[in-house]
């Protein structure tokens, strides 16, 4: 009976996993300000530039960086990230982030692929601490390494559309900074050859959620007794990680591809922990 219930849950998870792309598109519709409310007093939990002509909410990383520049603690932005991280962890990255969606689409282009080594995920801590907190705090928002000045999402969603808009409207064209445009181009090209390079190696928002993965309400579970050591989970995972012992690893975006393996399921923080790794 228990195994039947487990099989049913497994089937349900697989069905849900197939909806990921649709959920990403639906989320994009929410972030793109369909009602033109521009509610920038509130942060969204995703990586979406608030200077985008279509941005419903403020970008939490932009708010944290700017608050650091004015020597204030952004309680609202931090609280939003902690609540989102506590409830869903990296599901936010895999299922709702618009910049992640763009990289997923580029990943579908049939090109030779390579996998970034897992240690590249630790660069994200450097970006979060360095470019989002320390540089703005010490040198303000005018510094060349201030996060928003190098942000590829800002280049894609704000700088490029605003440049096109100003050119079309006949007003003076303000060219986007070359740095962030080049970084955007580099990551667009990289995304053709490796899966989600920005998320894997540099995203400061993803690292916040990945830190919450171990304690979030929704958690990935690996059942040791179900594992037959086929190591197929490594080929299922975009980051090339083995599920055993690494099920909530820092680069996981909870795309649920690994749930095709019988040993991997999704559970809650209140679920049973026996036989779980």
């Amino acid at each position: 009976m228990v195994s039947m219930t487990g099989e049913k849950a497994k089937t349900a998870i697989r069905k849900i996993a197939r909806w990921r792309f649709s959920v990403q598109l639906l989320s994009l519709a929410i972030w793109l300000d369909p009602l033109l409310v521009r509610c920038h007093t509130v942060c969204s939990p995703v990586f979406h530039c608030y200077s985008c002509p279509l941005a419903t909410f403020a970008c939490p990383i932009g708010v944290i960086a700017n608050f650091s520049a004015i020597h204030m603690i952004p309680f609202l932005a931090l609280g939003t990230l902690i609540v989102a991280g506590a409830l869903a962890g990296s599901f936010i990255c895999g299922w709702t982030c618009p910049f992640g969606l763009l990289q997923d689409l580029l990943d579908r282009v049939p090109t030779p692929k390579f996998v970034l080594p897992n240690w590249t995920g630790y660069f994200r801590f450097l970006v979060l601490l360095g470019l989002v907190i320390i540089v703005p705090y010490w040198w303000g928002d005018g510094h060349a390494l201030f996060f928003c000045r190098v942000c590829p999402a800002g280049a894609l969603e704000a700088a490029v559309p605003n440049t096109i808009h100003s050119a079309m409207s006949g007003s003076g064209v303000v060219w986007p900074t070359a740095t962030k445009t080049v970084i955007l181009l580099v990551f667009v090209v990289l995304a053709l050859f490796t899966w989600r390079p920005w998320c894997s190696a540099l995203c400061p928002l993803g690292v916040v959620f990945s830190l919450c993965n171990g304690a979030s309400l929704l958690v990935m579970r690996f059942h040791r007794s179900q594992c037959v050591e086929c190591v197929d989970c490594r080929s299922l995972c975009h980051t090339g990680e083995e599920a055993r012992g690494r099920i909530n690893q820092i680069r996981c975006i909870r795309c649920l591809e690994c749930t095709r393996c019988r040993a991997v399921t999704v559970g809650t923080a209140f679920g049973r922990t026996k036989d779980v790794g």
């Binding site: 920038h40 007093t41 509130v42 942060c43 608030y50 200077s51 403020a58 970008c59 932009g62 708010v63 700017n66 608050f67 520049a69 004015i70 020597h71 204030m72 603690i73 952004p74 309680f75 609202l76 932005a77 931090l78 609280g79 939003t80 990230l81 902690i82 609540v83 989102a84 991280g85 506590a86 409830l87 303000g140 928002d141 201030f146 928003c148 000045r149 942000c151 800002g154 704000a158 605003n162 303000v174 900074t177 962030k180 919450c212 171990g214 304690a215 979030s216 309400l217 958690v219 923080a269 209140f270 922990t273």
Partner: protein, 138 residues
Amino acid sequence: MNFPIRPVLFLLLLSAGIAAMVYGARYHAAVVGEEREVEREILIPLAGFAPGAGFGVPGDPTLGPPEGPATPDGSAGMSPDEAQGFMKKKVTQRVLVDKIVAEPRLNREVSIGGVALSGDGTLLQTYISGRPPSLCPT
């Protein structure tokens, strides 16, 4: 019996997040110096006035550009101020006013580069009140 560390961590994290959000939304604010343009009437001594030459001492930067009524031709009747040797003039001045800005509004302000830290550590609004920039400076 194992200590249920995961549920406890989750509840702690969730509580901390909600507490931070409530504090930020309801109680956290900052004092921001806002530059406002106000129109004032000032009295100018008539002694320095010569018909057709404008008001004030020529080259006096403190008075700013003449924005009031055109130079009177002297045909109008004298007001009480004029009778005392002064002339009223409307000038636009920029004054710094401290205002308390709640964190949600600060979120919006920083998204357009509307607030900056001054050299003495105080926060200043970067634009004249009522004329916010449409885009962030980056």
